[in-house]
């Protein structure tokens, strides 16, 4: 009979263990301990590894609007995805921003004593607003939490188009096409 406690930091941890079959439990800030899978592990005569998953019960609602606070005019479409702190590695699938500016992330971890820090990147917004640039950081401290993200309205831009050879002569009819993000 042997017992081992293995510290997991940023998703991994190691321990020297005797050969045998063990029952496994987890203690993880922000997670439901009963959701651990699998709950047994067999250590062999040589070095080995095991992969476990655990699930959480928090619900995070991100609201995208023009003020980044309650009451602002919401965007009407778009998408957002969970990422790492740098915003480069994406986790899970992108969540749609609905007509009221809301994107709901279910089963996210949270911690009342030590908030669980989550990161998101907005992938798209509607035609009338600018995308939030950068990583959205959320300190998830309760089971149901709402956070606001600003999407500023697009600003009107004025353009003039004149003849290059006759200074000041406006082009009677033309189209300027802008390509970019």
């Amino acid at each position: 009979m042997a017992n081992y406690n293995v510290q997991i930091t940023n998703g991994s941890g190691s321990e020297n263990m005797k050969k045998g079959t063990y029952s496994v439990t987890v203690t993880a800030n922000g997670y439901d301990a009963t959701s651990l899978s699998p709950t047994s592990y067999t250590a062999g005569e040589s070095a080995g590894s095991g992969t476990f998953t655990v699930s959480a019960n928090g619900v995070l609602t991100l609201i995208f609007n023009e003020t980044g606070a309650e009451g602002g005019t919401p965007v009407t479409s778009g998408s957002v995805i969970m990422t790492d702190s740098a915003g480069t590695t994406e986790y899970g699938s992108a969540v749609t921003i609905d007509a009221s500016g809301q994107a709901v992330f279910n089963n996210v971890p949270y911690g009342s004593a030590t908030p669980y820090v989550l990161y998101f990147v907005q992938k798209a917004t509607d035609d009338g607003h600018n995308l939030y640039e950068g990583v959205i950081t959320v300190n998830m401290s309760s089971a149901a939490q709402t956070e606001y993200v600003v999407n500023s309205p697009i600003a009107a831009q004025s353009f003039t188009l004149t003849d290059a050879n006759y200074s000041g002569l406006p082009i009677a009819d033309g189209t300027i096409t802008f390509t970019g993000e």
């Binding site: 042997a2 406690n5 991994s12 070095a47 476990f52 986790y91």
Partner: protein
């Protein structure tokens, strides 16, 4: 062929399981070994036997003897299963813990293992 098998097992390795097989792998007999000194008597048509003692504890490797009986009508075998050597060391086990729904690595957790 009638066989009398007298064998001893290191006390630290008890209890254990003894199996007697033919060289072809056919099981002739098996039983739980609780005492250090033991005697088994059995009949077999096999001329070659593999006698194995596997301690229930994972601290020990199993040990086997390969025996050729020849053509005598009976055999008297005496064996000692020495389990002075335990497994040399624990082995390094690495664990990965990820979020079931999003697949990201769990930042801070403790996995507890009991059994063995």
């Amino acid at each position: 062929m009638r066989v009398r098998l007298e064998f001893t097992v290191s006390h630290a390795a008890l209890p254990a399981l003894i199996t007697v097989r033919s060289f072809g792998g056919r099981l002739i007999l098996y039983g739980k070994v609780r005492r250090r000194r033991n005697v088994l008597c059995f009949c077999t048509e096999s001329r070659n036997l593999i006698v194995t003692v596997r301690p229930f504890s994972y601290d020990f490797y199993e040990k086997s003897y390969f025996i050729k009986l020849g053509r005598c009508p009976c055999a008297d075998i005496r064996l000692h299963f020495d389990f002075a050597e335990r497994y040399p060391a624990e082995t390094l086990q690495t664990f990965y813990l990820t979020d079931l729904n999003y697949g990201f690595p769990v930042e801070d957790a403790e996995l507890s293992f009991s059994g063995g």
